[in-house]
């Protein structure tokens, strides 16, 4: 579904992504782990076209979308839930979703989104800035789904959320997986990543250094954590 090959991205002089390779199979959930600043968010931003990669390929169903403008990448079927959610603060919940819904959604029409996120239904007319952090996160996901994406990029969705809300988030991600949405998930919350992911990947200094199934990851967890994840 989504294949990243030898992706390099620079911010000015700093070489952030140094040949990233990753395969996200159809319907799979790939969790991307790693310490702060290793290039996880930059990987998502490069896929989305928000930063232009210097070289490498991003293949969406075989089509190289690397270097495309973000709106074209979105129309090709990639949706983005950014770190910090970035809800439009002065738009209502419904309006936030409408921005992404360019044509009437077939897979995720508004009623289905509101069924998936009951808290948003109650707050449909509220402005984005009046929502709690958890509600904003749900809205950011609903907004991304409104474009009927093939691939969903989720950047640290659990950041700053209470444990109860993180559990709700896990439930939603599992529902999305069961509906066949392919997800590339950047996450610091290991428990959440293990619970939902079909494969776990670890980045160090702009490169992929590890990839495994959750079972194998659990077996090696102590060693992997010490080597790649703890500061």
């Amino acid at each position: 579904m989504l294949t990243i090959e030898g992706l390099n991205t620079h911010y000015g002089a700093s070489h952030v992504l140094q040949g990233v390779d990753l395969v996200v199979p159809p319907g799979g959930i790939c969790a991307l782990l790693g310490r702060n600043g290793v290039g996880k968010s930059t990987t998502l931003r490069s896929v989305m076209g928000l930063v232009t990669p210097t070289s490498g390929k991003v293949l969406l169903n075989g089509v190289d979308i690397a270097g495309w403008q973000p709106h074209r990448i979105a129309r090709a079927g990639v949706a983005y839930v950014p770190e910090g959610r970035l809800i439009f603060p002065d738009l209502s919940v419904i309006e936030n979703i409408k921005v992404a819904e360019r044509t009437p959604a077939k897979q995720w029409p508004l009623p289905r989104l509101l069924d998936l996120f009951p808290s948003l239904r109650e707050r449909a007319r509220n402005r984005g800035s009046n929502l709690s952090g958890g509600e904003q996160q749900m809205l950011a996901i609903a907004r991304a789904l409104a474009s009927d994406p093939k691939v969903l990029l989720l950047d640290e969705p659990s950041q700053g959320l209470a444990p109860l809300v993180v559990r709700e988030l896990a439930r939603v991600i599992q529902i999305l997986r069961d509906s066949g949405v392919t997800i590339l998930l950047v996450e610091q919350n290991m428990k959440l990543a293990e619970a939902v992911a079909s494969t776990l990947h670890i980045m160090v200094k702009g490169r992929m250094v590890y990839g495994a199934s959750p079972d194998r990851f659990r077996a090696e967890e102590a060693e992997i954590r010490a080597r790649y994840l703890t500061v």
Binding site: G49, A79, E95, S147
Partner: protein, 289 residues
């Protein structure tokens, strides 16, 4: 003279003045809200509107034709300028925009001088608007009444456009987070071009409305641009409602100030701006301090 009649006619006067200021301020604030740039050429687009209006009346023989043609032509020119020139400057600091739009002001002034000449051009108002009516036994020009009404109509139309149409929604979203709108599948470059065109078109229609009262002349641009900056600063850069309140405030101060204290009329406008900036540095409805 009856004080009530005086009050009513002066208020109507101020409303018609506010309408003109609003056509300018609303476009400027929309452009700022989306692009974070100050369009120094806004007064020149206002002036261009008056001249194009004069030609449209000359060609079609109808003031109403001018009201339709001028905003389309001036707005189209604005959108083309955004696509051809301004678009290359996004990502640079604000100075380059100020330089380019200031340069455009000079070039438009010269172009207008070459095309239409230096003499002020009288735009004839339609017969139906040229008389006077009596309001509480006080004579009042119909045209000013018409202007006040047009201001209200345009304000409602723009408000409904922003609230109810898809493009309006995208404009509001882009002013809050352009990158996110882009990532959600809308080409924000087109939104920017559209807003710049709409803003310039509004200035253009303002020029047509103003022309029968002040004539189309080369002095229009500098006068207009200063008043416009004042209302947008008072109302808060980027706020549509703010530009409406700013236009009303400035118009009322100008009209009543020049009646009671003719020597200080101009000073009042700046005094109000100063006071508001001290109390609310971002303007009445502005977010950024």
């Amino acid at each position: 003279m009856d004080f009530l009649a005086f009050l009513v006619t002066q208020c109507l006067n101020a409303l018609s003045q506010a309408a003109l200021l609003f056509f300018l301020g609303c476009g400027l604030t929309l452009i700022f809200g989306i692009m974070r740039i100050v369009n120094f050429a806004h007064g020149a687009f206002f002036m261009l509107g008056a001249y194009v209006g004069w030609s449209a009346v000359y060609v079609t023989g109808s003031f109403w034709g001018a009201l339709v043609a001028a905003p389309i032509l001036v707005g189209g020119f604005g959108a083309a300028f955004e696509m051809g020139i301004l678009r290359r400057l996004y990502g640079r600091d604000g100075h380059s925009f100020l330089m380019v739009t200031f340069g455009l002001t000079l070039m438009m002034g010269e172009a207008i001088r070459l095309i239409w000449g230096v003499a002020a051009l009288q735009v004839v108002m339609p017969q139906s608007l040229s008389g006077i009516v009596f309001i509480l036994d006080e004579p009042f020009p119909i045209y000013r009444l018409f202007l006040a009404g047009a201001g209200i109509v345009v304000a409602v139309v723009i408000w409904q456009f922003l609230e109810r149409t898809r493009l309006g929604l995208l404009i509001r979203a882009t002013s809050q987070n352009a990158e996110m709108v882009h990532a959600l599948g809308t080409d924000v470059r087109l939104v920017r071009s559209a807003v710049f065109g709409i803003g310039c078109g509004l200035a253009g229609i303002g020029g047509v409305f103003a022309a029968p009262m002040v004539t189309a002349s080369l002095g229009m641009a500098p006068n207009a641009v200063i008043d416009t900056f004042v209302i947008v600063i008072i109302g808060g850069m980027g706020s549509f409602l703010g530009s409406m309140i700013g236009a009303l405030l400035v118009a009322f101060v100008q009209v009543f100030g020049s009646y009671y204290f003719p020597d200080f009329a101009l000073a009042f406008m700046y005094l109000i701006m100063l006071t508001i900036l001290v109390v609310r540095p971002g303007g009445l409805l502005g977010k950024e301090a």
